[in-house]
Symmetry: C2
Subunit: 476 residues, 2 copies
């Protein structure tokens, strides 16, 4: 069995924890792992890592590779979209690529940013669905509702496919209902939440695309033929120039709307699991432990008489007094305070900030780089202080700066610096001046992470004051 | 005329902007100056700086001297209390000290942490009050109410002292009223808010203390006789050991309760000014400009559909969605989110945090020092990063550390470092290693502020890992 993880997302709904460069699937919402990592771990018992493909935006490709490295994920299983076009094109492209070698294999499609508890029940449903998919069905996993949710689409089940089996025909798909309908669905017992998890044979979905989305079908062959290795350290798969042009011109359409709601061979396999698509901050209540007053507080919160509130932070002390149904999300460079039932409007807020060209919607204070990351600790008129973390074996580009000098101090690990042609080893406690205009390069030759404190001094201290001469990651 | 500014305060009600070491009078609430500075500027047209005395807690003496240096304030005019004992003892001690040279002078008493707008009207009221005080009255400045405030004490005026004059007898003092009473007072036109501003002759208040607070009176002579210069750079006035013992044993009592409400020679001078004692965060509404939705937002706030809220921060982006009547106060190391009508309970919250031994109630991220300040920019397992700012001409103690080495980099100004007996000049861009165990001292010999970035590396990185050999400020 193969899996295609759909790791799209724009990073707006969980701002400020999510950012354009770190959408929901790449951040931790519950527990210690990111949602993408949780998604991979959930299906690994059924699908070996070499059979797991990920489709994501080019912006998120490197971070996706880094997050999945610990599972032995090979970047050649990552397909980078030049732009999001909803689920049907991503699924079609992945299926086309799979069809070259394994046209009759079953592929499961998994959103990368959902929460599923009770993983064993989920796996059982997947096994059932796999067997149904092998019979030529488009199988959708339906989640047994636990509340009259108006934010999800529903599926009404039809008669069983087999007597006594765990799979059903689908009577119809239902758009997000109003509350009375949602209450009726909950009582009726025959309605299920549409989880966005699908299983089918590669050949089945390609036939259906040909039938129902002929324009997409017409593009897939060319698209797949332009797929090539990306430049740089992580050789994920990108579309060639022609492929990008085509992909950008494809209509955005979901597989639900484009195929599932119209197809004659759809089947439903119900799963009794706690599931949430965690669509906005208030959904944290569904997937987190609450205190006696219904609060979801992260550590380092001190409170008096609060109820129904969600307070999420890091190290900084957060004190809350008397708040009711308020969401507070604290990050190093931006803070959100939101009435809980207005959580959906965080998206509008992000749009407003984008119009104001605020960078806080794009990146966190810690900026990921192919070699590690940097964090601006302080910026003042004439100096800028950064923590630079270089992963073992990684190397920044050979570069120079026109307007600033730098001072590097190793606080953890050991560095090797190239400075105007000389190689200079730097141990912990040691420091080095990087004069303005000098060609320099920072490398972590060791097995442990390297952390340096960089102090930039100069008249202007802009990130784009950089000339790159050589680079491991294709950026020079 | 003399002035005694009462600069007490525990720093709880405006937490996290105020802290134990930075109570309300030492922080900015409105505008660019601190409340103490505003208080001094308000009375300077009437009282020369050499006639202004300040009574404050020893904890706040150095910061008070630093904040008033720009007005030419001489630290010998600052009287440091070993502990707060409410207003009567502070006033009695100041009066006793003044009585040595100018027993018949008028002294005005001014709380350091109130907001008064329309300074000219206030000065006119003070001039009127001065003339009444010279006739032997205890004069209180009453503020014409502008709303039915239940948080203030009231004064009911009696007949005029002189026909057509601006001063009145006092019929009675009224404790904080309930709302119906406050409404009645507002309509009646004869009630005034008790501002805590008093004027009287030094001899008059000392006679009244003798009459009404004989126990306090019995202590004053000894207290005043133990007053001496403090150690260190700012030679403010402290009580000797005996004086401290006595002061600590004095009963806490306000001059309102102990004297004004009982005395037969009290007079009222009304002032028509916008006034607030800014008793808690919600009072910011009284003294700040509001937007069309009744919000008081500092800069760097992005909002959608908020109303009646107070959001105060610094550089960090704060985004607010749909909040109503919420107070948000963001500081570098602590955040407060509070239902506006619960602002009074911030005090309870601080008590709770004190029980949990949280240091965020004591000091800000930037810690004031007699030589300048330091700010912890980042603390991690094995290093700690500080910005150290040294005022011109100042010098840290000669010191050593047992468990850490340090690395100093000058980012602004110029330093002179003493390291194991050698003097080392350090210009901007230059850095120096301070090995573990070495005797070192940092000095700013120039006219401009000195800023260094200090990186501490070691197994333990505690502030108390310090041995002081010499110190300008009496701390060795």
């Amino acid at each position: 069995m193969y899996a295609v993880i759909l790791a799209g997302g724009s990073g707006t709904r969980f701002w400020p924890k999510s950012r354009e460069l770190f959408p929901k699937q790449l951040i931790t919402i519950t527990g210690a792992k990111t949602m993408l990592q949780n998604t991979v771990e959930r299906i690994l018992p059924l699908v070996p890592i070499e059979n797991i493909f990920v489709v994501t935006n080019e912006l998120h490709a490197v971070e996706t590779c880094k997050q999945l490295a610990e599972y032995g994920f090979n970047p050649d299983r990552l397909i980078a979209e030049p732009a999001g076009r909803n689920t049907a094109p991503a699924i079609g492209l992945a299926a086309k690529i799979l069809s070259r070698k394994t046209p009759e294999a079953v592929m499961g499609v998994f959103p990368a940013d959902h929460v599923v508890e009770d993983g064993d029940s989920f796996l059982n449903a997947l096994r059932e669905a796999e067997s149904v998919a092998l019979r030529g069905y488009l199988v959708t996993i339906g989640i047994k509702p636990t509340r009259p949710e108006t934010g999800y689409g529903y599926i009404k089940k039809g008669p069983p496919l087999d007597n006594g089996g765990g799979s059903f025909q689908v009577e119809r798909f239902v758009e997000k209902p109003d509350l009375p309908s949602a209450k009726r669905f909950l009582e009726h017992n025959g309605y299920f939440w549409n989880s966005g998890v699908f299983l089918w044979k590669v050949s089945t979905i390609l036939e259906e695309i040909k039938l129902r989305l002929p324009e997409l079908d017409a593009c897939l062959k060319t698209l797949a033929s332009t797929v090539a290795e990306s430049q740089g350290k992580y050789s994920y798969r990108v579309l060639g120039a022609k492929g990008k042009e085509i992909y950008n011109s494809i209509a955005s359409i979901s597989v639900d709307y484009g195929i599932m709601e119209k197809s004659q061979r759809v089947a439903l396999v119900p799963a009794s699991v706690r599931w949430s698509d965690v669509g906005s901050w208030n959904a944290l209540e569904e997937v987190s432990a609450k205190d006696a007053s219904g609060n979801v507080f992260s550590s380092n919160v001190v409170s008096l008489d609060c109820s129904g509130s969600i307070v999420q932070g890091n190290d900084r002390l957060i004190a809350a007094v008397g708040i009711k149904n308020i969401v507070v999300v604290d990050t190093p460079d931006a803070l959100l305070v939101c009435e809980k039932n207005r959580s959906q409007d965080v998206r509008r807020l992000v749009e407003k900030m984008n119009e104001e060209r605020r960078t806080e919607t794009k990146v966190h204070a810690t900026v990921p780089k192919p070699w590690g990351s940097y964090t601006v600790l302080e910026k003042r008129a004439n100096y800028l202080l950064k923590r630079i973390e270089v992963l073992p074996g990684e190397k920044l580009s050979l570069q120079s700066h026109r307007h600033r000098s730098e001072h590097w101090l190793v606080v953890s690990g050991a560095a090797e610096v190239e400075l105007d042609g000389r190689k200079i080893p730097l141990a912990r406690h040691q420091s080095l001046d990087i004069p303005q205009g000098s060609k320099h390069r920072l490398c972590n030759p060791g097995d442990a992470p390297l952390t340096i404190i960089e102090t930039q001094i100069g008249e202007t201290l802009e990130e784009d004051d950089i000339v790159r001469y050589e680079d491991l990651y294709g950026r020079s």
